[in-house]
Symmetry: C2
Subunit: 340 residues, 2 copies
């Protein structure tokens, strides 16, 4: 038998642990074309809360009793599909469970890891969607150039914790992170590659911003949205670029509660670019992203910071905590105690 | 002697004719390195009103008594600069005057026309900044792909009147224009290449939009900004692109009077791209734009619509009329009665 988490009730606002239920289920057997994976690590992302309610363009809403959606890393323990062999380390949409069957269906978006000498947990962090997103946003969406200055919101979070390393590897002059509280702000400059930090819970956000970046901002990598994004638009230099990666400040809001920015007119006045993007629209680049990031990890430029929790039973807390800001770095849950 | 227009007083809101004064001045003689141009055509653009007040990032504000800034087409009548020879047709920042001296200084941004078998007036319309802007916005900023659907605001205006032809040449499926009043709306479909029109002065803008574009919008080429841009954002399809070319609805407004969009959150939710841009940042592409557009004109795909006024004395009215929406197509003022 194996364990799995299902949706017990739709959250009203932020999820509570009672919205999830743990079940036991038989370990499945692969049919022709199918592969059985044993879950090694699972990731969590803020967007999962939307799967529990209305879904997204890319993921239908869960029904009550459905296994929770989520991506993770598994090891192939049985294969009846020639694209996968026993022992392969595969990242895909496993769901919150200890074993999963997948097939070639595009739904699962399997990606066989090549860089398996590195920790397999990187398959839900630096060599997975969050690391790929950081590289895509900086290099391909914002076209970051050598010598430019970068600001990052949600800088201690899953994607944000990786952005500074990548920005430095791409030759940026200065990278400043925004996070909540002194502890996280210290982390940015001590453990991550940030040159300076801004505490959005501290006094006078704009004064801190002017003080940290007196020469202005070329690129803003935004994970927060809303009021903070609006304020930053007022500080972005002519021809600056803004990657709209996430909007955690507004995921729980109704459309008419979302922020109406006073600085919107500056997009035209200052020739700014704002772009929302989603990593799964760039799958043809994943192999390049994996090898580029692995190279920087091996060369010592990039030290992924993982916030590892242990045990399938921790999954609900791992997700809820993202909204409470408890994580530092990429939140990863180790499911198999023997995982490498 | 020659005539020229100077700034007489700073406009309060929209300019009045009394803000301009006509002067006589001796025809200048070129020094070493200089070129004397005889003005053939002058263009007008909404941004000129800002030169009369606060200036822009690219153009200092005029002082009282300064010759009005403006781009036009001149013929070289005397040259002491090896980059220009007598008879060359040059578009550059001539100012509102019958003759002008220029040199190699980057301020003047001279561009020697190659396609001089076509009407020279195209040097302030289709083969100049407004045509180049239409091509840059659609092809390079919005990356318009074959089969996509395009909406254009200010569609009867200088840039907008050219966008539909270019969109069709680039293979778009449908191009719809927004203009004010029935006369202009008829023009869009009769004389320009628009498939359909939306009258923003008519009833229920959103109903007209839904009716004209039931399959949604891939690319929005915006010359208006403000409330209209906000509304359209709500109709742009996932991964749509918005070229922020102009904001004529807000040029006369203070920052705190500018529109605060209710649909801003959709940029992130729908993976949209918004980009402001300015043609002079792409000068290395001008020669390509000129030959691409001239090819479409010669092949009969592109019929530039010029709104030609005659005589230097008409310049103030030509500019003021842009804000009153009196122009259809690119407004051009013929200065030399013998101009080709």
């Amino acid at each position: 038998m194996m364990r799995q988490w299902v949706l017990a009730s739709r959250p009203d606002g932020l999820a509570r642990t009672s919205d999830f239920a743990m079940q036991e289920s038989p370990i499945p057997t692969p049919d022709k074309g199918q592969v059985l994976l044993k879950t090694q690590y699972l990731g969590v992302a803020p967007v999962m809360l939307r799967y529990m309610n209305n879904g997204t363009f890319f993921e239908r809403p869960l029904e009550i009793g459905d296994v929770m959606h989520g991506r993770g890393v598994g090891i192939v323990v049985a294969s009846r599909n020639s694209s996968f062999k026993e022992g392969d380390i595969v990242q895909c949409k496993l769901g919150w469970r200890e074993y999963a069957l997948i097939d070639d269906d595009s739904y699962y978006m399997p990606f066989v890891m090549k860089q398996t000498d590195l920790p397999w947990s990187y398959g839900v962090s630096a060599l997975a969607m969050s690391g790929f997103t950081a590289l895509l946003g900086l290099r391909d969406i914002c076209n970051l150039k050598k010598g430019e200055r970068v600001l990052v919101s949600g800088a201690a979070g899953g994607v944000g914790s990786q952005v500074a390393f990548i920005a430095k590897s791409l030759g940026c002059e200065q990278v400043v992170g925004i996070a909540g509280g002194k502890k996280k702000c210290h982390l940015l400059t001590d453990r991550l590659a940030y040159d300076d930090s801004i505490d959005y819970k501290g006094e006078d956000f704009e004064r801190q911003l002017n003080s940290a970046m007196p020469d202005g901002i070329n690129v803003f990598f935004d994970n927060v949205g809303g009021e903070m994004l609006d304020t930053v638009i007022g500080h972005v230099l002519r021809r600056g670029r803004i990657a709209i990666c996430g909007r955690i400040s507004e995921y729980l809001k109704a459309p008419d509660e979302c922020h109406r920015p006073r600085n919107f007119y500056l997009i035209g006045l200052n020739d700014l670019k704002l772009e929302g993007f989603f990593i799964y629209n760039f799958q043809e680049r994943f192999r390049d992203y994996e090898s580029t990031l692995a190279h920087w990890i091996r060369s010592g430029e990039f030290h992924p910071l993982e916030d590892i929790m242990h045990g399938l039973e921790k999954m609900p807390d791992a997700l809820i905590g993202l909204y409470e800001g408890t994580n530092c770095g990429v939140r990863v849950v180790q499911i198999d105690p023997d995982a490498r």
